[in-house]
Symmetry: C2
Subunit: 82 residues, 2 copies
């Protein structure tokens, strides 16, 4: 079994209201040392075993076409044995 | 600058409707090889430089108290130089 772990973040400069809200909550509970919070997504895709380099291309394609919005989001991924 | 990268996933056995929807979308676009999809959160917390082991305890506390719901979610984190 192969697992693709995809990390999606908002591009720098894109406003992150959810991150701002989390930062506010942390500050109000006394964690003033937190300077910035950015909230993104983490997606795990599970596949049967197969050709790793083919799978990499496939996952990259899925990221571009469906999983992310390339205009406002960046992504990275890694594929591990599950 | 230190950055804590927090990865939050639903515990095994907890229903993940968002993951199910993403899987459905992937299948309908021809990516039938995807067996399972789980959607989680990825949070980046930025701090000034400081004591790493103190910071680890602090981030762990934040995860338990605010960032996650320990009943249905698991989390891991790492701290890197930013």
């Amino acid at each position: 079994m192969l697992i693709a772990k995809v990390y999606i973040t908002l591009k720098k400069g894109i406003l992150d209201p959810q991150g701002k809200a989390v930062k506010g909550a942390l500050h109000s509970l006394g964690y003033e040392e937190v300077k910035e919070v950015r909230v993104g997504k983490y997606i795990e895709l599970t596949f049967e075993d197969g050709d790793l380099s083919l799978l990499k291309d496939k996952v990259d394609e899925m990221c571009k076409r469906i999983l992310t919005n390339p205009i406002i989001e960046d992504y990275t991924f890694e594929i591990v044995e599950g």
